[in-house]
Symmetry: D2
Subunit: 309 residues, 4 copies
C-alpha cells in the first residue's frame, strides 16, 4: 500500500524485532507480533526504529524485517521504516533498501556521530526526500543523536514539502505543541512518548508511536478513541494504567545495564510472557534481564490487567 | 603485512578520503595522498577514521578505501581500519570486510546512538576481539559517541588481551597519561591530538594519529624524532608551528557549518592547494568551504612554510 | 499570612524584579506589578525565582524584594521566596532572611556549582526543612543547576514530610506526571511551563508558575478556571493565545545575548510597554533588548490582544 | 603585599578550608595549613577556590578565611581570593569584601546558573575589573559553571587589560596551550591540573594551582624547580609519584557521594592524617569519608612516601 490519503493518525507502534537465542531475526515471532498489533486495531506499523533495535541489526537483518512485515500485512496497514544511520549517503542506502522491500515511508534522524549544524540537518532531510521520492518523517531523538530538531527547522521543512511528518521522542512537549499548531495540512505530528499520549492528542498531535504499545496495543488504541470522542477523563485513566505498566523499563536497575537495554529487554520479556514471541533475546552487547527482573515484569503485567503465562 | 612486532609507535595519520565532485571515492588522489604520507616517513596509516569521513562513506566506499590503500602500500606500512558503527553486530560486519580487504588491525569506538553502559562497552570490545581474531584498538571519541572510555576500563581490556591499543581523541590528557603509565607491554597508546603531541610523547604515549598530519606529515615525523632524541625544545618549536597551522580548522566560522565539516573541509582544501589531491569535495550533507575560506587556508599554509599552488 | 490550609493551587507567578536604570530595585514599580498580578486574580506570588533575576540580586536587594512584597500584600496572598544559592549553608542564610522578611514558604534548588549526588541532594533538602521549620518547595531546574530531580527522590521527600511541593521547570512532563500521580495529600505540584499549563492541569498538576504570567496574568487565571470547569477546549484556546505571545522571548536572537537575558528582557519590556513598570532595565551583565527588539515585543502584545502604550 | 612585579609563577595551592566538627572555620588549623604550604616553598596562596569549599562557605566564613590567611602571611606571599558567585553584582560584593580583607587579587568564573553568552561573559569580567581596580584572574571551570572560556575570549581580555591571568581547570590542555602561546607580557597562565603540571610547564604555563598541593606541596615545588632547570625526566618522575597519590580522590566510590565530596574529603583526611589540620570535616550536604575510605587514603600517603600518623 501507499500511505493513506491525508495524514497518518492513531497508534503506530515501533515494532520490536524478535530474535532467536543465536541472534537471528525470528520471523515467525515477528509475524505473530504484527498480528498481535493489527488485531488490537493499530493504524500503522513503524519498523526499524529504536525500539526495534535498528541500531543493532545488520543490513541483512534490516531488510529481512521490512520484507517480513510488508509481506505479512500485505497492504492492510501502512508500514514506516527507519533508515537509521550517521549521514546522508548511508541513510540513503538504507532508505532505498527499505522502500524496495515494500515500506511505504521512511523515518530518519538528524546526522549523528559527525558534529552537525542546522544547515546540514536541513540539507540532509532535503537530499533524502529528493533522492527517495518517498514520504519522509523526521525522527527527533536527542538522547541518541545529540541534537534537537527545533520547531522552526521542522516547520520550514514541512512547508517546503520535504517532510511528511515528525516522530518526536525528544520529551520536549512544548516544542511538539508548537509544531502541532504550525503544521500544514497533511503533515503528521506523532509523539513517541508512552506517558503523555492523552495530553499530546489534546494539544493537537495526530498520532502516537509508543514502544510500550508492543506490549499493550489495546490500551493505546483506547486512548486514541477516548480522545477522539472528547472523553478526556477516560483517556487519562487509561493513560495512568499504562504509566504504571511502564515501570517495566525499570525492572533492571541502572547499575546493571544501559537504560535502552532495560527498556527493550522488558518489552521483549513482556511479549514472551504474554505468549506473543518465543524469546526475549536482545542483541549484543546488551545485558539481558535476570530471572528476578523478568518476574518483576510479570508482576507489573498482572497489575495492569494483562495475563502473562 | 601484519602489525609490526612490539607495539605501534610514531606517526599514523588518519588518512583523508578524497572524493570526486560527484561524491565517489577518488582512488587516484587517495594513492597520491598515501604516497605523500609514506614519503614523509610516517609509521602506519589509519583509514576509515573520523578524519576519513568514515561516517559518510557507504559500505561499498569503505571497502574500496581499504582495498585501495592496502594494495598500494603492499605491506610497506601497517594499515589500521576503522569499523565505525553503532553496535557490535554492525561493527563486526565492517571489521570483517576491512580485514578481508587487507587491513592489519581494527579500530572501534564504544557503542553509540544506543544508550550504553560500561559493562556493555567492555562486552562490545570483547566480542569484536573474539570474533575477528585481529588486533583491536579502542577509539575514545566522546564528542562523537557521547561516552568516555575510562582508564580502568581500558586498562582492564588491555590486561585481558582484548585491546592492542588505544586511539585517544577525547582531549582528556590526564586519563591518557594514566593509561600510558598503566599500559602493559605491547599495548599502544596513541593520541589523536594535533596540538599536544610533544607533551603526550613526553609523558609516555607511543604514537600520534593527527588529522593535520594529512597536510603536514613531515612536521609530525619531526616531533617524534626530536622527542626520541630528548630534544624537547625542538619538539616544542615544531609543535608550535603546527599549532599555528591548525587554525585552518577555523577558516570557516561556526555560524556557517558544523565543526567537523570545517576541519575536514580545511584539510582537503589544503591537500588540494598543495597538489596532493584533485578535489576538496566533502561528503553530503557537509557544507563546503567558500573561496574566501579556502584563501584563508592557503594563507595559513604559507605562514607555516608550506607551498600551496 | 501562612500558607493556606491544604495545598497551593492556581496561578503563582514568579514576580519580575523591576530595576532602576542604575540597577537598584525599583520598589514602586514592584508594588505596581504586584497589584497588576493580584488584580488579575492570581493565587500566590513567587519572589526571587529565576524570572525574578534572583541570581543577579545582591543579598540586600533580595531582602528588599521580600520585604516590599510581603508588606504590600499584607497577608492577602501567600508569598513564596526563592533561596537560590550553591549549597546548604548558603541556602540556609537566604532562607532565614526571607522568612524573617515575611515570606510564607521557601523554594530551593538542588546544590549546584559543586558536583553533587542524589544522596547529597536529599540531605540538602532535609537540612533546609529541618533548620527553617518552614514549608519547603523543591525547584527542579536542570538548565541552571545541571542535575534533575527524579520522581523517586521527590516523592520520597514528599512522603517523609521534607517537601511541601515541587516547582518543576525541567520541561520533563513525564516525570512531572509521575510526581502528580504519586503526590501525597497536601503536596503541591506546580509547573513552571508557560506553554503546557492546560495539559499539566489535566494530568493532575495543582498550579502553575509561569514567567509570562507577569505580562498576562489574566490569561493564566482563565486557563485555571476553564480547567476547573472541565472546559478543556476553552483552556486550550487560551493556552494557544499565550503560546503565540510567548514568542516575545525570541525577539532578541541567540547571536546577540543569552536566552535568559532575552526572556527576562522581553518580559520587562512588555511590562514597561503595558505601563506596569517604569524601566525595562535588566541586571548586569545581561545584554539589553534593542529598540527593534522592543518593537517586536509590542507587536506580539498587540497580536495577543493586549494594549501596549 | 600587592602582587609581585611581573607575573604570578610557580606553585599557588588552592588552600583547603579546615572546619570544626560543628562546621565553623577552624582558623588554628587554617594557619597551620598555611605554614605547611609556605614551609614547602610555595609561591602564593589561592583561598576561596573550589578546593576551599568556597561554594559551601557563608559570607561571614569567606571573609574570616581571607582575613585569617592574609594576616598570617603578612605579605610574605601573594594571596589570591576567589569571588565565586552567579553573576556580576554578587561577584562584585564578594570581591570587595575579599580585597578589604587583604587579598591581593580576585579570581572569578564566568556567570553560572543563569544561561549566559560570550558577550555577557566578557562584560562580566570587564565590569569586575573596572569596579574593583584589582588584578583579576579568570577561572575556567566548565564542570562547575557549564561554559568554557575560549582562547579568543581570554586573549582578548588579556590584551585589553581586563585580565591579569587565567586559572584553568577545564582539562582542555590544547586551549590552555593556545592561551600560553598568545599571552601578553605579565599575563599569568596557571593550570589547575594535578596530573599534567610538568607538561603544562613545558608548553609554556607559568604556574600551577593543584588541589593535591595541599597534601604534598613539596612535590609540586620540586616539579617546578626541575622544569626550570630543564630536567624533564626528573619532573616527570615526580609528577608520576603525585599521579599515583592522586588516587586518594577515588578512595570513596561514585555510588556513595559526589566526586567533589570525594576529592575534598580525601584531601582533608590526608591533611588530618599528616597532622596538619585537626578535623577532616567537610561542609553540608557533602557525604563524609568512611573509616575504610580514610584507611585507603593513609595507604596511598605511605605509598607516596608521606608519613601519616
Amino acid at each position: 500500500m501507499t500511505l493513506p490519503p491525508g495524514r497518518l493518525t492513531g497508534v503506530i507502534p515501533p515494532v520490536c524485532t524478535p530474535l532467536t537465542p543465536a541472534g537471528a531475526v525470528d520471523t515467525r515471532s515477528l509475524t505473530r507480533l504484527v498480528d498481535h498489533l493489527a488485531g488490537a486495531g493499530v493504524d500503522g506499523l513503524f519498523v526499524l526504529g529504536s525500539s526495534s533495535e535498528a541500531a543493532y541489526l545488520t543490513d541483512h537483518q534490516r531488510r529481512l524485517v521490512v520484507e517480513t512485515v510488508t509481506r505479512h500485512v500485505a497492504g492492510a496497514l501502512p508500514v514506516l521504516a527507519g533508515a537509521i544511520d550517521m549521514t546522508t549517503p548511508r541513510v540513503l542506502a538504507h532508505a532505498e533498501t527499505a522502500l524496495a522491500a515494500g515500506a511505504d515511508a521512511v523515518v530518519a534522524t538528524a546526522p549523528f556521530y559527525a558534529r552537525t549544524h542546522p544547515v546540514e540537518i536541513a540539507r540532509h532531510f532535503q537530499l533524502i526526500a529528493k533522492h527517495t521520492g518517498a514520504p519522509l518523517l523526521a525522527y527527533d531523538l536527542p538522547s541518541s543523536v545529540h541534537s534537537k530538531l527545533e520547531a522552526d527547522l521542522v516547520l520550514g521543512l514541512a512547508a517546503d514539502g520535504t517532510l511528511a511528518g515528525l516522530k518526536d521522542s525528544s520529551g520536549d512537549q512544548a516544542t511538539l505543541r508548537s509544531v502541532a499548531i504550525g503544521a500544514p495540512d497533511g503533515f503528521s505530528v506523532l509523539t513517541g512518548s508512552e506517558l503523555l499520549v492523552d495530553t499530546a492528542l489534546q494539544f493537537g498531535a495526530h498520532g502516537v508511536v509508543p514502544g510500550l504499545g508492543n506490549v499493550d496495543p489495546h490500551g493505546y488504541v483506547r486512548i486514541v478513541r477516548h480522545a477522539a470522542a472528547g472523553e478526556w477523563d477516560l483517556a487519562r485513566a487509561e493513560q495512568e494504567r499504562l504509566l504504571a505498566l511502564f515501570a517495566v523499563v525499570d525492572a533492571a536497575p541502572p547499575e546493571r545495564m544501559g537504560r535502552g537495554s532495560a527498556a527493550i529487554g522488558a518489552f521483549k520479556a513482556a511479549l514472551r510472557l504474554l505468549g506473543v514471541i518465543d524469546h526475549a533475546t536482545t542483541a549484543e552487547p546488551q545485558v539481558p534481564l535476570s530471572a528476578d527482573e523478568e518476574a518483576r515484569v510479570a508482576e507489573l503485567l498482572r497489575a495492569a490487567g494483562l495475563h502473562p503465562a
